[in-house]
């Protein structure tokens, strides 16, 4: 097998590949060696833990060796990363060798390797988050099954709490990376005209760490689970079964990946923009990724440290969260929510970035109040660090602090309103193309409106005192994150699949999926507002018989909601793999830079020459608008003369450069470039 070596750093000059040989795929590191490494690491860690702590008094009296469990999980993750080849580079450097710079593998095995191609990492993330979503969704089905009857039970109560906890933790971790992982990594370099992410190895390792985090969380079940919910409150945390170790290590593991990913994206967006990509021309999705990445980088370390405090309490018998030994369980609650509420916006902002990117395409209008939208995202990100104690209104905090946090929480609805209103402004008097991605965008606004308004109720102390810990809060949260982020995500999957795979998803199945999901989602979660108002608390497996009808309705709707995702899965597998239909070039007639080259056919370095950015990508319907970029770079721009590369859309001349916005009819044609 041959591949190319890279000669980056050429700026705007052309790319000159040279050939070199790579090891045979079967004799190099891949996901199989990663699992072998994980198994070996787990065994070694467990042995060390037993060696260290088996004679501890607490281990002998409880029979529970948390040191061994934590070290086993930690070394398991380390073994996995070593096994996938994630540490080859630093290890070689450590021993004084200069690692050979190689191009990524180009066959299908690249998806099972440590790839530094951001497009491959984006696709790996996509499959990873969808898989995680389906696993978390199965737990949701189990929850709704248990709640079909108030007194006859399908699961034992402790198992039910473990299921609820697993569902919450997996879904929160998944949702954190749902857009940042797959679409952030895939799209940011293409949108800003970069050949790669700033730190490709960090990017790749963040994905494999993310995968490890999922596996660690799932190991909680055979370790006895954790019955604290996804919030893991102390002192329950300190008393819980060894499954709690998996929760803490899992959160720490995924948190590491989140920090690396966020840091990498900030550096990439700030430093790797193509010439001409001013801040005022940055796509709104990239703005959303930048705001989210700052949140990831600043908030996640707090969770990371809080988690390791918990690990130390459970292993080294420290007392960070043990009230009776001088610590404070409030410390965990505050540290957790200091991360936890920015976390909510880590999930919400990318959804708005995605719909902000799609709305102009399907309304054929410029994005309304673009700068206000970008400012709104950063306003939300900033304020999100000052609202966390609204989760603790009824925990016994100083009553004088409650109005302060009520005020900051209500303040955050202002920048959130900015973001929402740029969507409404874009829709205003637009000739909307009701494609499937657009329908998901509209549904997102509908759902988020309900979620947002009910959120204002939650932020209000007198109301929150009544509804705290009830199904009302749960329904509100699902409306904002599932109704907001997930609908935006699925819209983006339908929108970007032609770019990611070169295939079009079946439109009929896509519409069935949309309507099925939209109706079932609202049927599932809207009744739960009422259930919450009527007094049903969260995380209980037995409830008042008078609430059974509403709960049964929600359960039946939840099954329908679950099945709607099977329609998507069938559509995706069928259209992309079983019976693929090639997508036309730029099927949505987008002006975005990422659509001007078919990414699935691009070399891993994306651009032969770095493009020159000429305008923002939202000049729909403007006859004299500049093209978004000149794809032949500075040299061709100079050769074309003063106005050559700056010709308006559709202009012809000696060297007009690639056509940026083809007429609708022409855009339907097959891309003639050879694969």
């Amino acid at each position: 097998m041959t591949a190319t070596t890279m000669e980056l750093g050429a700026g705007t000059t052309g790319y000159r590949p040279t050939a070199t040989r790579l090891a045979h795929p079967w004799f190099s590191l891949n996901v199989i060696t990663a699992f072998l490494g994980a198994a070996a690491g787990y065994g070694i860690g467990h042995w060390i833990g037993n060696y260290i702590a088996s004679n501890y008094a607490v281990v002998q009296s409880t029979g529970q060796n948390n040191v061994a469990v934590v070290l086993a999980l930690f070394f398991g993750v380390l073994g996995f990363i070593v096994g996938i080849g994630g540490l080859n580079y630093p290890i070689l450097k450590m021993f004084g060798y200069q690692p050979e710079e190689r191009a990524p593998v180009e066959d299908w095995t690249k998806y099972f390797r440590f790839s530094t191609d951001h497009k491959v990492v984006g696709k790996q993330y996509l499959v990873g988050v969808i898989g995680m979503f389906f696993i978390g969704g199965l737990f949701a089905m189990a929850i709704r099954t248990e709640l079909t009857n108030p007194t006859t039970h399908f699961f034992a109560p402790d198992i039910y709490l473990q299921i609820v906890s697993e569902h919450g933790t997996i879904m929160m971790m998944m949702a954190t990376s749902l857009v940042v992982g797959p679409l952030g990594n895939f799209l940011i370099p293409l949108m800003i005209g970069s050949r790669r992410m700033a730190f490709p190895r960090l990017e790749a390792i963040s994905f494999w760490i993310f995968l490890c985090g999922l596996m660690v969380i799932l190991t909680a079940l055979p370790l006895g689970g954790f019955d604290t919910g996804w919030t893991g409150y102390a002192p329950l945390q300190t008393e819980a079964a060894p499954g709690m170790d998996a929760y803490l290590v899992g959160f720490g593991t995924i948190g590491t990946g989140m920090i690396l990913n966020g840091f990498n994206q900030i550096v990439t967006i700030v430093n790797y923009r193509a010439p001409g990509m001013r801040w005022s021309r940055l796509p709104i999705f990239v703005w959303s990724m930048l705001a989210t990445s700052f949140l990831l980088t600043l908030a996640t370390p707090v969770l990371f440290v809080a988690g390791w405090f918990g690990v130390l309490d459970r292993t080294a018998q420290t007392a960070f969260y043990v009230n009776t030994h001088g610590g404070s369980s409030y410390l965990w609650e505050n540290l957790f929510w200091f991360f936890g509420h920015p976390e909510v916006y880590i999930m919400a902002i990318p959804g708005f970035g995605l719909v902000g990117e799609m709305l102009p395409v399907f309304t054929r209008k410029p994005l309304f109040a673009y700068r206000v939208g970008a400012a709104g995202m950063f306003g939300v990100a900033l304020l999100s660090f000052f609202v966390w104690q609204h989760h603790l209104f009824v925990s016994g905090i100083n009553p004088d602090m409650r109005p302060v946090f009520m005020l900051t929480t209500e303040l955050i609805s202002i920048p959130t309103g900015f973001i929402y209103l740029i969507g409404m402004g874009t829709l205003w008097r637009a000739k909307i193309r009701f494609t499937v991605p657009m329908m998901f965008c509209l549904a997102m606004y509908f759902n988020f409106l309900i979620g947002g308004i009910t959120g204002v109720y939650n932020s209000d102390v007198p109301v929150d005192v009544t509804i705290h810990g009830s199904f009302f809060v749960m329904a509100h949260f699902h409306y904002t994150i599932m109704g907001g982020l997930l609908f935006a995500f699925f819209g983006a999957v339908y929108y970007y699949t032609p770019l990611l795979t070169g295939k079009m998803l079946n439109n009929t199945l896509a519409k069935i999926h949309f309507w099925w999901m939209f109706i079932a989602f609202n049927f599932t979660f809207f009744p739960l507002f009422i259930v919450g108002f009527l007094g049903m608390p969260r995380r209980v497996f037995e409830y008042a018989p008078r609430l059974q009808v509403l709960n049964d309705w929600a359960s039946a709707s939840a099954y329908m909601l679950g099945m709607s995702f099977l329609v998507f899965a069938v559509n995706f597998v069928w259209s992309v793999w079983v019976d693929p239909k090639p997508a036309p070039a730029n099927p949505w007639q987008s002006l975005g830079l990422e659509w001007q080259l078919p990414a699935y056919k691009m070399p891993w370095y994306n651009f032969e020459r770095l493009p020159i950015i000429l305008s923002d990508p939202y000049h729909y319907g403007e006859r004299e608008a500049l093209p978004v970029a000149h794809l032949q770079g500075v040299l061709a721009l100079a050769g074309a003369g003063a106005g050559g590369g700056l010709a308006p859309v559709g202009a012809v001349g000696p060297d007009p450069g690639p056509e940026i916005s083809p007429p609708r009819g022409e855009a339907e044609r097959e891309d003639p470039r050879p694969e």
Binding site: S61, T62, H153, F155, P235
Partner: protein, 224 residues
């Protein structure tokens, strides 16, 4: 790979994933302590005799050190379960053989006997209504069913008592106390019962471990 092959592989992978999910639910998530049935053969109006024992360490399996309840099944064998099926609207005569050591209660209210016939119990043949855990051996556990209003403290054995039982089931030759009381079941439903003495040795504040695990110090009365 031809289209049919891809389709077959996709179906196979889906079936495998689905099968794994079902296996996971069936093999792990549905595991519960066995139900011990006291309803079959029960004649309406007749009381049910329920015999249980509490041990300081179960002595078997991965949680050999955990404190636990056991129940004597209708066939006379001891069963490691805390899920008992009982007939509705029936008098339940309970006999507890208590083999664990005791300690003072953190909240003396748990020393009250409530919800039983006469709000009292027989401790080694002596009728009692309140146990003062600050003197003597103290209270080892409680048998409490909040939804039925039942709570009975179980007097501990002395910490230096001879012939302490180390592994369940414990026979009567080991040092123990006998507590007898009666209560009535109500309408059908599932009623959680729990020991409210934090008795999980080694765990923070004595909670966690056996205290929140079915089969040890918590269970259900499944009233049919």
């Amino acid at each position: 790979m031809p289209k049919a092959g891809r389709l077959a592989l996709a179906v196979f992978i889906f079936a495998l994933a689905f099968g794994l999910g079902v296996w996971g639910v069936a093999a792990y998530l549905r595991i519960q302590p066995p139900n011990v049935n006291f309803t079959s053969g029960h004649r309406r109006g007749q009381p049910v005799d329920l015999t249980v024992q509490t041990v300081g360490s179960y002595g078997h399996g991965v949680h050999a050190d955990w404190v636990s309840y056991l129940v004597k099944g209708p066939n006379g064998h001891w069963v490691h379960s805390t899920q008992w099926e009982l007939p509705a609207h029936t008098r339940i005569n309970v006999t507890v053989y208590q083999y664990d050591t005791g300690s003072p209660l953190r909240n003396q209210v748990w020393g009250l006997i409530r919800g039983t016939g006469g709000h009292s119990a027989l401790l080694n043949g002596r009728r009692v209504r309140l146990l003062n855990s600050n003197v003597g051996n103290g209270v080892a556990h409680t048998f409490s069913v909040p939804a039925l209003g039942v709570s009975v403290p179980l007097w501990g054995i002395a910490g230096n008592a001879p012939h302490q039982c180390a592994a369940a089931p414990c026979s009567l030759r080991f040092t123990h106390n006998v507590i007898k009381f009666s209560f009535y079941t109500t309408h059908p439903g599932q009623f959680r019962w729990q020991c409210f003495v934090p008795c999980a040795a080694g765990y923070l504040n004595g909670n966690g471990g056996p205290m929140d695990t079915l089969g040890y110090m918590a269970g259900f009365l499944k009233v049919i």
